[in-house]
Amino acid sequence: MSEVTRSVTELINEFAKMPGVGKKSAERLAYYVLRLNRTEALVLADAIRNVKENVRYCRNCYNLAEQEECEICRDPNRNREVICVVEQPRDLMALEQAGTYHGLYHVLLGRIAPLEGMGPEQLTIDTLVNRVRSGTVREIVMATNPTVEGDGTSLYISNVLSDCAVRVTRLARGITTGSMLEFANKEVLADALSGRQAF
């Protein structure tokens, strides 16, 4: 690369740290910022600063929030009797985009992975148990990822909650809508059969 000033190099390096951004894209982004006028560029800088200074975890559910409680916890129209448990805020966002769930959430901020040194105490399971014990919750919907570690985390939590008067369910899994039965692998078919439901 030809000579650029130190500030430009720093900006390129910062962009290059972002997920999915390689060296070439980082350069393109940096030159885009250079071409912006001062006001436009500072709007971007402020957006980054605001996100770091204002965003925190919701004290109830560990979703991202700009106040003590997130927008979902503050929404009076949500059903407070159901809590859907997810690994990360991005999983919550995906479920929200589906638009069919109207209960509350609980974000674990990870999953139990002993091989990575992640135990239950590093997650937000204590807070979840307190919410169940002290509240009006009737159902917990486990929506951790359908992996060995995600399923294991759900299993652990359902064991912890076994002495609470709450129904624990999990997301259905199985055949993708619009696909062909004959091409589904046997594990997927086994899941679909064991999770069958009444018409």
């Binding site: 997920p19 990575e116 992996t147 060995v148 570690e149």
Partner: protein
């Protein structure tokens, strides 16, 4: 760089980027390998979600000769680790098997018999078999396959037959049971009951199926677990050093 096929158990996976995974695999044909699986985190990927911890799969991969990561190009799921309902102990035992395979073996050092043992052990654990017995058997036979089998009925040092009564001196670091003469002046030697050594011998037996009938009583189990933890602690530093 050559394209290879292998049977593999997935030991660990780590998110490498937005779309890719790095996986640690214990393969039957090549021993432990670490490989990049490009696109494994995408919804549509060539791996059919076979690259999940503790799954058994058939893989095609590019074996790099240098220090670089291998590259998994295909993976076909053969068996997912699905513990029977509510069986958390079985799942944690499965994690432990993966951890031991990762710690006790080297990259590109195949042990097909250990692979088969691990495969059988994981299948049994997922099916809900009694955990302590299965796990103890796995540990003991794994150590034997890797050349670290402890001596159980003769002195590890002089080979003298040991009378299996009362309490017996045992030093994992010294190779197992020790006679009175050989234990003198050695550190890291503990005393275990004869019952523990007999149980260990039965559990590690590859000839008969008698081990399936062993009922490990609580006291022996306690001693056994302590002994195994100590074995692994002592053998690992030797290997690493």
């Amino acid at each position: 760089m050559s394209s290879e096929k292998a049977s593999a158990l997935v030991l660990r996976t780590i998110d490498f980027s937005e779309t890719s995974l790095v996986v640690w695999l214990f393969t039957r044909e090549f021993g432990k390998i670490s490989a990049l699986a490009k696109g494994a985190r995408r919804l549509k990927n060539p791996f059919e979600s076979a690259l999940d911890v503790l799954t058994l799969c058939r893989i095609v991969f590019l074996h790099k000769s240098s220090e670089a990561l291998d590259l998994v190009t295909e993976a076909k799921l053969l068996r997912r680790f699905r513990p029977t309902r509510q069986n958390l102990a079985g799942l944690y035992a499965g994690y432990y098997v993966a951890e031991l395979l990762g710690d006790l073996t080297d990259e590109n050092d195949p042990h097909p018999e250990l692979f088969d043992l691990a495969d059988e052990t994981l299948a049994a654990l997922a099916a809900g078999e009694v955990v302590p017995r299965r796990l103890a058997r796995f540990e003991l036979i794994a150590l034997r396959f890797l050349g670290h089998a402890p001596a159980l009925d003769q002195c590890a040092e002089c080979g003298m037959k040991i009378d299996l009564t009362g309490r017996i001196a045992f030093g994992g670091i010294h190779g197992g049971a020790l006679c009175r003469g050989c234990r003198q002046g050695k550190s890291s030697v503990v005393s275990v009951s004869a019952g523990v050594l007999r149980t260990m011998a039965q559990l590690a037996d590859l000839e008969t199926q008698a081990w399936r009938r062993i009922e490990i009583d609580a006291q022996i189990l306690g001693e056994l677990r302590k002994q195994e933890a100590k074995n692994n602690r002592e053998i690992l530093p030797q290997r690493l050093g």
